[in-house]
Symmetry: C2
Subunit: 361 residues, 2 copies
């Protein structure tokens, strides 16, 4: 199948989607011939795919392939783990022509991508996302980052990959909970950009949860198509791209409030979308029955529709420091009807408190 | 006086050069009105200029001005100090519209610039260089970085400032040794780009060392003009810009070999230029008497013309890991006549050993 193209001038790149792509040496060849390759992956993914990817890279003509294993989980998005990746690159005497391959989920992609962004002021990297979340969201768009004790993704860079290779066969090995967390971002793309896709998701949620290969393939492709449109129009998140944060302002507060790793990112975003839909109703831009469709879709995916037991004030405090806060005001992404989103910086904190309460324990 | 403009499309910016500019609130105003400002500086510079800069920033309309003091010296280009700056930004609840002001020499500029490059995936910054080295070199061109135990500037980003404000009156307080170290980069700009400027430096070295204000002003301006031409033609060091590393491949090896901080960067570059000139003679692209002019100019500036007691093999090993090593080959910048430079990747290691020996203890 033809790859999707992310159109960003001289930073344009293809997204290849399909089963079994991990092993296709000819896909890698144009990026790695005669170049040193460092594969960043984690202890959960390595036993499943590392050997196959290494074999394909060598077959594709890479000069050397060095694996770097990081710990599984959000805690790896840290200075310490970043330093370990940088150290491995230096130990392997990688120059500026080296290529990093990020093999894994969002954490691996964010960390390895950021290492690529800053190693010797920037080297190339390739995303090989192996989770649904990474395939439909985090591997697309060039956002890379690590976390800080005071907030998620507070240190990072916009750094576009050479290519994204999304092998949907890797989703077979994904735990159910992570599959559902990935579906949260798929739902998001429908809610903010494509009413028809929302309808498709309502009709096909059971198939997605049963890992029907064709349904998953369509969901990944449509999600990427939608996200790519937004990224191409606003690479560095100066405006439009902010709509991709629908559900994320609340979601990040949930993640930070309960401690990173307690809730999966997708779970926090799912509940965040319910809150943001409630806020949209209160802001007068979404009908009650549309908000109920958002909530029902989140529930159908087996995702949480209720937030953790945190006071509303704690949400507001956590959102204040979040990077979407600009000039002190918190800006929210609201739906203007299902399938359309907008950024609002003028919403009353009381309205926000009510929306949090509407999705409270 | 009219500022120099660094022409980089939508990343273009002015370099203002002159005495007393630190206090000129109207220079800052267009960049800081209603924005949070974090001034990164060090313990040596703060007592001299911090209060004046803070006053000018407040007068210019900044919403808040938070100073962050880092330790003096190359050791501050570390993960730990970077984290301190990031932490200060988060503690001050800075959003993406905050501005970092780098007040100090090259270390402050490199570190603060890198913090600006990665904080929330990139915020604005202004360079206020207070050393000659920073005014003629490190503050211009958008290179930011920190060091790694395995090599200098191994982690960083290309991130252009909003503006550079070079107050040449701050050079009055510069220790002699640092003044001379800055002159090394001035000599470099002449050697690689402007034979006439080499002649001017030979005639005016005594004035520069005596801190003649007019002579220093001319040296800063001409150096910036020369560097700006190169940066504008090759922002991300994919080709031409490499010539700015004349003397640096050897120089970095000296710095790493004796331990960072033992030799000043400019001192190591000075000796590195003598070695690179010797290499140019052996490579057949520079006449002996031209190499002698380089050596004499370095000596006239009171800079070292002989390297530290390191075996030639140690240099080669250290240069191998340096970022100018591409695909395993070490590439050298050689002079093709005085005032013109080129990149050579084909030079025999024996020729390199001889050139190091020619400038050995």
């Amino acid at each position: 199948m033809q790859p999707l193209i992310v159109s960003l001038g001289d930073r344009s790149y293809p997204i290849h989607i399909g089963p079994g792509l991990l092993d296709e040496a000819q896909l890698y060849a144009r990026y790695v011939v005669s170049r040193s390759v460092v594969v960043v992956t984690n202890a959960a993914v390595a036993p499943l795919y590392l050997e196959r990817v290494q074999r394909a890279l060598v077959q594709a003509g890479a000069r050397g392939v060095v694996p770097v294993l990081i710990e599984d989980g959000e805690r790896s998005k840290s200075w310490a783990t970043l330093d370990r990746v940088i150290d491995a690159l230096l130990a392997a005497r990688c120059g500026r022509d080296a290529v990093i391959v990020a093999l894994g989920g969002g954490v691996v992609g964010d960390l390895a991508g950021f290492a690529a962004a800053v190693y010797q002021r920037g080297i190339d990297f390739i995303q090989l996302p192996t989770t649904l979340l990474a395939q439909v969201d985090s591997s697309v768009g060039g956002k890379t980052a690590i976390n800080h004790a005071r907030g998620k993704n507070m240190v990072g860079a916009f750094h576009q990959p050479l290519a994204v290779i999304a092998d949907v066969a890797t989703l077979d090995s994904l735990p159910d909970r992570e599959l559902r967390a990935g579906i949260a971002e798929v739902i998001k793309h429908g809610c903010i950009l494509d009413l028809q896709f929302v309808g498709w998701l309502e009709a096909n949620m059971a198939k997605l949860l049963a890992r029907d290969r064709a349904a998953l393939g369509h969901a990944v492709r449509r999600s990427c198509e939608l996200k790519v449109q937004v990224v191409a129009a606003d690479e560095r998140e100066s405006g439009l791209r902010a709509i991709l944060n629908f559900g994320h302002t609340f979601g990040h507060a949930i993640e930070a409030g309960v401690g990173y790793g307690e809730w999966l990112h997708g779970e926090a975003v799912a509940t965040g979308m319910v809150m943001a839909a409630e806020l949209s109703v209160r802001a007068g831009s979404l009908r009650r029955e549309e908000a109920d469709r958002v909530r029902a879709l989140v529930a159908a995916a087996g995702l949480p529709v209720r937030g953790p037991a945190l006071p509303a004030e704690r949400y507001l405090e956590l959102m204040q420091v979040d990077k979407k806060a600009s000039g002190g005001r918190i800006r929210y992404i609201v739906l203007e009807g299902l399938g359309r989103a907008a950024l609002r910086g003028d919403l009353d904190p009381d309205m926000v408190r009510q929306s949090i309460a509407a999705a409270a324990q």
